[in-house]
């Protein structure tokens, strides 16, 4: 029984690894996605580095906005948003893949469903993380004094929004019958997440009710965790906990959806 359990765990790990690697291979072999990933980075580099660096200074004293301008605020927010959108795009493939592709055979293999979900989420999140990580040099372009430790901390924390959104996307993709329904659901979910977060705009000047909404938005926690890691060399505890909880819950949703697939 123990041997069977051990071999089951080995099968699960190997299966998850294969699926994660496949997600990455698919990304590298789809030229359009590569161009889009690099293009997004370049565009933001141009806008932030060339146009906005030092041009916007928020009210307040001693804040990072005052010290480094709006660009310093924007860089971690942009990284979080790029991770979010890249994760959503990569989870769209699950829909077609599940109905008429590679994933059909994966579902009739003995690899446990939780490992299938873990593989897809890990691979997709890695792709999203990489695209977001490409924006990190923006910090230096914008003149933010980021040390190596802070950069590494920010990159580690950046995993959380990538995993969270990739998990959410995967959970919905398992349930959606076609890409159109997926887009509709994701728009309904992501637009408020994005617009009602403090990824692009500081919460300070917002109306009181909106400030509450923004502060309860899990994407704000993710952006703040990345921002604090980049600024202070370590993420602020509460945003980090919130972002980790968000990622964990979303991953659980992906596992549940995978286990229910085809039932």
């Amino acid at each position: 029984m123990d041997a069977e359990r051990r071999s089951g765990a080995a099968l699960a790990l190997r299966g998850a690894g294969v699926l994660a690697r496949r997600e990455f291979l698919r990304f590298l072999r789809t030229p359009v996605r590569l161009v889009a990933a690099v293009g997004t980075g370049l565009l933001l580099w141009l806008v932030v580095g060339g146009g906005l660096a030092g041009s916007v200074v928020s009210p307040g004293t001693g804040s990072e906005e005052e010290r480094f301008g709006y660009a310093a605020y924007l860089v971690p927010g942009a990284m979080t948003l790029v991770a979010m959108f890249a994760a959503i795009f990569s989870s769209i493939a699950v829909i077609e893949d599940r109905r008429e592709g590679f994933l059909q055979a994966v579902l009739v293999s003995p690899t446990p469903r939780w490992a299938i979900a873990a593989g897809i989420v890990t691979g997709g999140a890695a792709v999203a993380w990489l695209q977001a990580a490409l924006l990190l040099p923006l910090a230096w372009i914008a003149g933010i004094p980021v040390g190596a430790g802070a950069a590494i901390a920010a990159l580690i924390v950046l995993w959380l929004p990538a995993v969270a959104i990739q998990s959410l996307g995967t959970a919905f993709a398992w349930r959606c019958r076609d890409a159109a329904s997926f887009h509709a659901v994701m728009n309904l979910l992501l637009m408020p997440l994005w617009l009602l977060s403090d990824a692009f705009f500081p919460v300070d000047g917002a109306a009181a009710w909106l400030r509450w909404v923004i502060q309860l938005n899990p994407l704000s926690w993710c952006a703040e965790a990345v921002r604090s890691a980049l600024r202070d060399g370590a993420p602020a505890p509460w945003p980090l906990l919130g972002a980790a909880g968000f990622a964990l819950l979303a991953f659980a949703a992906a596992v549940v959806a995978a286990r229910r697939a085809g039932r």
Partner: protein, 330 residues
């Protein structure tokens, strides 16, 4: 001998409400090749998916390989779907290695089996090609290898030759038969093609979710008369035109892909019909009955008419008279 698959009174309803299976019961002997024959929408794919444990029946039960645990069943199961389950952006070898890993094959063993299957199916040359660069026939063969890598005891093939030309279809089926002969694999294959079903050990006909005929192809054909007469090149059923009345009295004409056809049970009726058609200058052909004829007789619908396509009885159509011509052969 314990059956490889035992399906007991299985019913299944789609989420939208339509019934896909109605009380289907079936037992599949080990090492046999059984065809599920029926038009689109007859429940073939649903039945295969339930056997593969993708979904649960609403009523009834399905025993697979005497196993109770889904994961153990899947470990002994190979499935080929209607669309190939390969990643088009990966190479043939990458796809096969990935599936070997998902079935827990040790790397060295996987490489050995891949090499052996490549050699058996003549695919070694395309190992490093991306799947998207291969022809449909090659992709299907690679997909078959994918399903055989873990040496399954039961192979489920869901319309596996869809989109292939006749030679590729034949080659694919040859490979399936050779696998059964080599390892004694039990095969359950769904198809709407009579020529594919005819090659199998046993044919189970499905119509609107129910099993309407079950037996060896020769035994099923023997239930029909010795002859099948097809009246060609006409929109008009023979009974409505000249020289068909005698025929429709003996056996009603049904509309199929190649014209209006009637199964004639005895020599005297056949001779009378042939004479009547000749007198009426109708173009016709005489051939042995096929499994499609048995399906039409059992269901009143043509096998190639699709799920909702009821074959039209000869008396139900009116319209312009068909082109008249001489007898084409017998």
């Amino acid at each position: 001998m314990v059956a490889a698959v035992i399906i007991r009174d299985v019913s299944y309803r789609y989420r939208g409400g339509a019934m896909a299976l109605r009380g289907a019961s079936l037992s599949v002997e080990p090492s046999s090749i059984v065809a599920l024959l029926g038009p689109n929408g007859s429940g073939k794919s649903t039945l295969l998916r339930l056997v593969a444990r993708i979904g649960r029946p609403d009523a009834g039960s399905i025993d697979v390989l005497g196993e109770r645990d889904d994961r153990r069943i899947r470990a002994r199961l190979g499935v080929v779907f209607q669309t190939p389950a390969l990643d088009r952006r990966m190479t043939v070898l990458e796809n096969l290695r990935a599936h070997a890993a998902l079935h827990g094959l040790p790397r060295a063993e996987a490489e050995r089996r891949i090499a052996a299957l490549f050699s058996l199916h003549g695919l070694a040359d395309c190992a490093d090609d991306r799947v998207e660069t291969l022809s449909g026939g090659f992709v299907r063969r690679v997909d078959l290898i994918r399903s055989l890598l873990h040496e399954p005891d039961l192979l489920l093939l869901d319309e596996p030759t869809t989109g292939l030309d006749p030679p590729s279809r034949a080659a694919f089926l040859d490979a399936v038969f050779s696998e059964r002969d080599r390892r004694g694999t039990t095969v359950l294959i769904s198809t709407h093609l009579v020529e594919e079903a005819d090659r199998c050990d046993r044919v189970v006909m499905l119509h609107r979710g129910a099993i309407v005929a079950d037996g060896a192809p020769a035994a099923l054909r023997a239930q029909l008369g010795p002859r099948r007469i097809v009246v060609q090149g006409t929109e008009t059923p023979p009974s409505a035109g000249r020289g068909g009345g005698a025929a429709s009295a003996a056996a009603p004409f049904m509309r199929g892909r190649d014209g209006w056809s009637a199964i004639i049970d005895d020599e005297a009726s056949a001779a009378a019909l042939i004479e009547a058609l000749t007198r009426g200058h109708r173009s016709f052909a005489v051939a042995p009955p096929t499994l499609a004829d048995l399906f039409a007789r059992a269901t009143g619908e043509a096998l190639d008419a699709g799920g909702d396509g009821a074959a039209e009885p000869a008396d139900s159509r009116t319209g312009p008279r068909g082109r008249q011509g001489g007898r084409r052969g017998r």
